[in-house]
Structures are given as structure tokens and as C-alpha cells.
């Protein structure tokens, strides 16, 4: 397959997914923040909180309107650019995405409408319930998407059918309770809370800097920073769980994220090249300072994991992958004419099918993702995440002490942190998705087989077309947002 076609198809998908992820975390975070603010209005019956809620709902609506349907483009790309992959996963993706569509449509469209149209038409408690259900609906939508993504990282609850050449679901529960999906879901949701908190704090700081809407801004920062701290702590905990999952199911991703060539027990965690914390990587990956963490060379050459399982070398996996592919071919060719040969071929395929994807790799080195990109993205995610947590603690402290109003430096730092929280989230996805290369489905389907046989030029054309249109929509969103922010909530 043309390498240029694979690269352009990947780049196009990455751009679309990254663009989609600009809007999703803010929707997740802001929907919760707005729900809490409206709860304060209903509990304290203070009109001030109603107006605060209405302003942030407006920001939520602008973000939602520009973000809406950006995820659909990913589904277009599945059918056009990744048709082999789409066929291969059809049933597994179909169920979660269909449920996501139903939740997105019914929950969000119903309760979203009550949120915006129902202020003077339904009771305050019904309105509040609708606001909370919108928040729950957005999180549930994210859940089903991440179930699909989690399956690609750790394909469970399915069986490959050599007759239909697609993975078929044998346990819906196994797919839904996939530990990787659950870790990713919680990590995405809680980091979304942080994103919402930083955006609310950043916009509010702009008002404080201009000495406008002081009560509104301080109150918004207090609510946002508390939610952000809770979200941040939960993000750290889910990140810890995610690290253990990656060590277990995608050890190459972990080795690349650490730039770990040779692993071992009591493995060191790299802060930056040359600065390491002894034993820390073993603790993070296995929750045991003496836990064994394989490095890139160990994975290439084979190793014994912490449960005593012997993991074959990549060379051996490639050989078994070749055997699986040859057996699949033999099975299909002899299915009608020679049942005995067909039966033996099927058995051989089943014995080696877990390594089928390796049979499509050109060399063992093909299992190594881009180490610099994954390594530095991981550091960007963790470093920025830690900085933002510290910022949220500082903001909540000064808000609590009622000293926030005149701290210009802190206002500037908070405003400038808005782009940082987005970089942090995007870096996390780079670790997750670039780190699992070359696989579209871990160990089963690499990108070179998943991609459709298209003209590379056609993919380039749509890439640049999308880039232009996406940039235009982003500019429109930012201009509407800036206009709304400049106008202000006018509540003080």
C-alpha cells in the first residue's frame, strides 16, 4: 500500500479527531459547571446565580453549536478512507455508536431545548433536572464513543469470523466493561471538567483584569476551581489506572512514552532526558517498585511478564501472523472443495489469529511508534496538567480569601492558561493514538491493511478542504464567543 496514502489518511483522521476534541471537553466540563451554578440558584433562590448560569449557558451553546456534527466527519472517514477497517469492526462499532446516536439525539436534543427555551415555561426544579440531564447525556455520549475506542486499544468480547472476515460480538458486557474503555472514559470526563474550569476561570479573569463583573467573575472562579480541583484529582487517579492498563495491554505504548529502550525491574521514570526517578515507572505501571516493565528491545526480543507469561518476540509474532493469514486463505479456498483441509486450516488460523495483524508488518521495527512524539506529548500532558492543578488550587485559595480581585499577574496567568488546557488534552490523545501505532486494532489490524485503496491526491484534497473549512468555523466560533464575552453577563 502507498505510504503516502496511509500517511495522508492518518493525518486527515488525526486532524478531524483533534478538531472534534476542541469542543468535546468544554461541553463536558461546562455542562457540569452550569448544572452546579443552576443548583445554587434553585437552592438559594438568588437571581444572581440565575444570571450567572444563563451567561455560561450561552458560552456552552456557542461551543456546542460549532462542535455539533464534527464527530460525524469521523464516521464519513471510516467508510471512505478506512473501509477495510470499517468492515472488520462493523458489528462492534455499530452497537456503541448507535446507542451514542440515540442518547445524543434524545437526551441532548430534548433536555438541551428545555435548558434554553424553558426558563419561564417550566418549573425551576424541572429546568434544573433538564440541565443536569443534559450534562449526563453528554457524558453518556462520550462513554459509548470511548467504548468503541477502548475496544480498538484492547479488543475484548469479540471473535473474528473467517467467513464474514469481521469481528463479531460474543459478549456485549465484556465490550462495555472493557477496563481500557472505562479508564479512558473517566480520564476524558474528568479532564473535561478541568477544561471547563480553566475556560470559566480564564474568561472570568479577563473581567477581573478589566475590573468588570467582579462579583460574577469571582463567584464563577470559585465554582469552577472547586470543580476543576475535583476533576483534576480524579484525572490523576484515572490516569494512574490508565497507566497500569497500558503497561498490561499496550506495553509498546508505555515504552515509547518513556523512551525506554531496555526495561527491567524497579524501572526509572523519565522526567526529561537524563533526569529520572528510580523505581517510579515500575510503581506507576505495576503498583510495585519491583514490578517488571519491558522496554522497546524487550518487546522486540520477547520477555516474561509480571504474571509469568512468556511473551513471544515480534519476529515470532510475525511468523505466526503469516501462518494465520495463510491459514485464512487456505480455509476460504478449500471450504467448498476439501472440508478436511479446510477444517485443519481453520484450526491453524484459530491457533495463530491473535497475532494475525503482525503478519502484515514489513519488519519487527514496524511495531515501534514515533518515540519523540509520544515521549514529549506525554510530558506535555503531565506537565501542563500538574501546572493547571496548581493554578486551580491558587485560584480557589485567593478567591476564598477574597484577595483575587487585584492580583493582575494571576489574572494574566489564568487567561493564558486557556490555550494550555487544550494543548494538554490534545497531547493526551496524541499519546493514546500515536502511541498505539501501527495498529488500528491492537495486534489485529495495522493501518496499512485498514486503509482504503484510494488515490493519495484525493485524500490530500479533502484534507486541505477540511483544514480550510475547519479553520473558518473555528474563527466564526471564536468571533461569536469573543462578542458574547465582551458584551458580558451584566449581572453585577
Amino acid at each position: 500500500m502507498d505510504a503516502s496514502l496511509i500517511d495522508w489518511s492518518r493525518l486527515q483522521f488525526a486532524m478531524t479527531a483533534a478538531y472534534h476534541w476542541i469542543f468535546v471537553p468544554l461541553t463536558l466540563g461546562l455542562s457540569l459547571i452550569v448544572s452546579v451554578m443552576e443548583t445554587l440558584f434553585v437552592v438559594y433562590k438568588d437571581e444572581f446565580w440565575k444570571r450567572v448560569t444563563k451567561f455560561w449557558m450561552k458560552i456552552f451553546a456557542i461551543n456546542f453549536a460549532v462542535g455539533i456534527a464534527t464527530g460525524i466527519i469521523l464516521e464519513f472517514e471510516f467508510g471512505t478512507n478506512w473501509s477495510n477497517y470499517s468492515w472488520f469492526v462493523g458489528d462492534i462499532f455499530g452497537a456503541p455508536l448507535a446507542i451514542e446516536g440515540i442518547f445524543a439525539f434524545f437526551m441532548e436534543s430534548t433536555f438541551f431545548a428545555v435548558m434554553f427555551f424553558g426558563w419561564d415555561k417550566v418549573s425551576s426544579r424541572f429546568h434544573l433536572t433538564s440541565t443536569w440531564l443534559t450534562a449526563v447525556g453528554t457524558s453518556l455520549s462520550a462513554f459509548w464513543i470511548l467504548v468503541a475506542n477502548g475496544w480498538m486499544q484492547h479488543p475484548v468480547g469479540t471473535e473474528f469470523n473467517p467467513d464474514t472476515v469481521r469481528s463479531e460480538m460474543i459478549s456485549f458486557w465484556a465490550v462495555v466493561s472493557n477496563p481500557v474503555a472505562l479508564s479512558k472514559f473517566s480520564h476524558a470526563i474528568f479532564s473535561g471538567w478541568m477544561t471547563g474550569a480553566i475556560v470559566v476561570a480564564g474568561i472570568s479573569s479577563w473581567y477581573l483584569l478589566r475590573k468588570r463583573e467582579v462579583r460574577f467573575a469571582s463567584s464563577s472562579i470559585l465554582v469552577a476551581s472547586i470543580i476543576g480541583i475535583i476533576g483534576g484529582l480524579a484525572t490523576m487517579m484515572s490516569g494512574d489506572k490508565s497507566g497500569v492498563d497500558i503497561a498490561k495491554y499496550q506495553p509498546m505504548k508505555l515504552a515509547a512514552a518513556e523512551g525506554l529502550r531496555d526495561g527491567g525491574k524497579a524501572a526509572s521514570f523519565s522526567i526529561v532526558p537524563g533526569v529520572e526517578i528510580p523505581g517510579m515507572l515500575s510503581i506507576l505501571a505495576t503498583h510495585d517498585i519491583d514490578g517488571y516493565v519491558p522496554g522497546i528491545n524487550d518487546i522486540l526480543n520477547g520477555y516474561t511478564d509480571n504474571d509469568g507469561n512468556v511473551v513471544p518476540s515480534v519476529k515470532e509474532k510475525i511468523e505466526r501472523g503469516h501462518e494465520a493469514i495463510a491459514a485464512l486463505k487456505r480455509y476460504r479456498e478449500t471450504k467448498e472443495s476439501s472440508p478436511d483441509v479446510s477444517f485443519k486450516s481453520l484450526k491453524s488460523f484459530q491457533e495463530n489469529s491473535q497475532y494475525m495483524g503482525y503478519g502484515y508488518l514489513s519488519s519487527p521495527d514496524a511495531v515501534i511508534p514515533s518515540i519523540p512524539l509520544v515521549y514529549w506529548s506525554f510530558r506535555a500532558m503531565v506537565g501542563l496538567g500538574s501546572f493547571l492543578m496548581l493554578l486551580l488550587f491558587i485560584l480557589s485559595y485567593f478567591t476564598w480569601k477574597k484577595r483575587l480581585e487585584n492580583l493582575k499577574w494571576l489574572h494574566w496567568v489564568t487567561i493564558l492558561s486557556i490555550p494550555l488546557v487544550y494543548i494538554c488534552g490534545q497531547a493526551g490523545w496524541i499519546v493514546a493514538e500515536v502511541g498505539r501505532q501501527p495498529w488500528t486494532i491492537q495486534d489485529l489490524l495495522p493501518v496499512n491493511v485498514a486503509v482504503s485503496a484510494l488515490d493519495s491526491g484525493a485524500v490530500q484534497t479533502t484534507f486541505f478542504l477540511f483544514l480550510s473549512v475547519f479553520a473558518l468555523f473555528l474563527v466564526i466560533e471564536l468571533s461569536i464567543l469573543i462578542k458574547a464575552i465582551k458584551k458580558g453577563p451584566q449581572v453585577d
Binding site: 453549536a65 473501509s83 431545548a113 434554553f116 424553558g118 415555561k121 472476515v165 461569536i480
Partner: protein
């Protein structure tokens, strides 16, 4: 039942007609959906295996999976 449906219809009708700043967002959403479904989907993102029967799709994928 009819009364409930009438109320729901009225709720949406009044909501949409009473919109102020939301109107421009709806225009934006409509422009985007038209662009996505009537331009991108129809002209640029036709499914690669469109028009093939299920058996033909299987053969296309088998060809790719067994001839690496």
C-alpha cells in the same frame, strides 16, 4: 395525548421564535450540516465499497487480508 403533543409543539415553536442570539447559532449549524451532508458526503466522502453486495464486500476485504 394530543394536548401533550400540542404543548410540546408550542414549546418548541415559541422557543425558536423567541430566540435572540441563538438565531445566528442555528444558522451556523444549518450551514454546517448542509456543507457536511450535501457537499462533503455526496461529493468527497462516498463510502469506498458503496454499491457492492455483502458478498462482494467480503471478497474485497478478504483480498486485502489474505494478500498482504
Amino acid at each position: 395525548m394530543m394536548e401533550l403533543l400540542r404543548n410540546i409543539f408550542r414549546f418548541y415553536k415559541e422557543g425558536f421564535s423567541g430566540m435572540t442570539w441563538g438565531r445566528s447559532l442555528w444558522i451556523l449549524i444549518m450551514v454546517k450540516l448542509v456543507f457536511l451532508f450535501l457537499i462533503m458526503r455526496l461529493f468527497f466522502f462516498r463510502p469506498a465499497m458503496e454499491g457492492l453486495s455483502e458478498d462482494e464486500k467480503v471478497e474485497v476485504v478478504v483480498e486485502r487480508l489474505t494478500a498482504p
